[in-house]
């Protein structure tokens, strides 16, 4: 397996590719195995119509997510994140926080290591907590779906991005003004841009910010 000419990052890409392909095959095997075990063919018309209603948008968003998240997550972090999911609400903030406290860039080897470690730990903890949740579902349901706690869980994202926003916006005030103004206008005044479309608005925000930064940079303002 070892190849002397490979850099550390090359081995990350090689191992990541192998792992992701294994997981992909397993995920595809799940519906197939259920079908075989219970001798039940899928309702192909339902599958087709279901896919038509979801896949075009999800696939487009998926492609844009890969392009916009990979540069922030680093190599190892990307392979893990796109398997374990919950990227923008968990893995990416976790990695950003770690990169920030080490003062490293995810494109460097150190940055890749820090990002990978934080995302791996986050994935392990998430998986274990969900397992505990599934095992303890009966005693947990009344606690977690309790009227008192429900508002707290409903506001996880504002609580997360308030704190994270302060850290990053204070460092990049000039970069942040235009995209934040744009997003506020879009989210407040455009009815079809709402809480359920934030997944699409992340890449929009990223592309817009890069464009504005490039202009400001060329004009010597940044």
């Amino acid at each position: 397996m070892k190849n002397k000419n490979m850099t550390y990052l090359d081995t990350v890409h090689r191992d990541g590719t192998i792992w992701n392909l294994i997981v992909m095959v397993l995920l595809l095997a799940f519906p197939v195995l259920v079908a075989v075990i219970f001798r039940a063919a899928p309702d192909w018309q339902g599958v087709l119509l279901g896919l038509l209603s979801t896949a075009p948008m999800y696939w487009a968003v998926g492609v844009i997510e890969v392009i916009s998240f990979v540069p922030m997550l680093g190599a190892g972090g990307s392979y893990l994140s796109f398997v374990t999911g919950n990227i923008s609400n968990l893995k990416l903030p976790c990695a950003l926080n770690a990169l920030e406290s080490h003062g490293v860039n995810p494109q460097t080897e150190e940055g890749d290591i820090v990002s990978t470690i934080s995302i791996a730990v986050s994935s392990i903890v998430t998986t274990v907590i969900i397992i505990l949740g599934v095992i303890l579902i009966i005693p947990l349901t009344p606690i977690l779906k309790n009227d008192l706690l429900e508002p707290a869980f409903a506001q996880l994202l504002p609580a997360l991005f308030g704190a994270l926003g302060v850290v990053f916006i204070s460092k990049h005030v000039k970069i942040a003004i235009a995209p934040i103004a744009l997003m506020l206008i879009l989210f407040i005044f455009v009815p079809f841009i709402n809480t359920s479309t934030v997944g699409i608005m992340v890449p929009v925000g990223v592309l817009f910010t890069i464009a504005v930064s490039r202009i400001l940079y060329k004009k010597g303002i940044l």
Binding site: F38, V47, S53, I117, V125, I130, L132, T141, T209
Partner: protein, 273 residues
Amino acid sequence: MGEFNVNHPILFVLVGIILAVVLAQSVYFLVKSYRRAKAIGMDMKKIKKTILTAAIFTIAPAISIVVTVIVLADSLGLALPWLRLSVVGSLSYETVAAAGAASGMGTTLAALADNMNASQYVSIATVMTLSIMVGIWLVPLISKRLQKGLVSFEQKDKRWSDILQGSLFIGMISAFVGYVFSDVSRLWLSEGGVYTVTEKIQQTGETVSVNYTSTSGLVPVCVMAVSAISMVICGLLMKKLGWKWLNDYALPICMILGMASAIPFTALLGGKI
């Protein structure tokens, strides 16, 4: 195998096997990167702190994922939501995909809830699996080239490369800042203090109309403010009092404070009526 039901033990065995592999991947990469950090002489004390911080930070979001599993389990059983939310998924994706598959079969998740058959289950699982299956193969395909491009870019113009990295972060954060304000418009769109929306019920995918108080859209804004102010205070404590240790815990602390503040804010400003 006996008769199918959405909580059949064999489903848990299948999900368990897949998640064991996913867990193994995370452990593999943790060990690999940890060893590499040691080998190139990184500060291992700091690495250990990173591990601790990541673990603590993850707890609250992970519990909120458990809540989602519970919500979806009403109609899909426990096994499928458990799999989907441990791997790739998120609440909004999974609900829409499952509801889309159900409506493709001429029914709704609500109608299926008590008596879903194996064929319907397989169809829903297939749609949910195929819909989100992009990143998992696209990352191996393009991430290496993408990163090489970024690195060579960085060597050409270091300053712009730093700005680009900052822009990526800010771009993502700005979308979520906007998101927090998305329901503020209820203030002026309400009639008689009540704002009515048609919403999809997460468990079933059915649409119903729901009433909110006109001030309910301010709750996330206030929560974000509490969390942001807490972070500013943490920053001051670190700078003025030299509380360096706080650096590792600031994000989870501020997040929990923000979430806790949601309880009184929701009581005060209202939510669903």
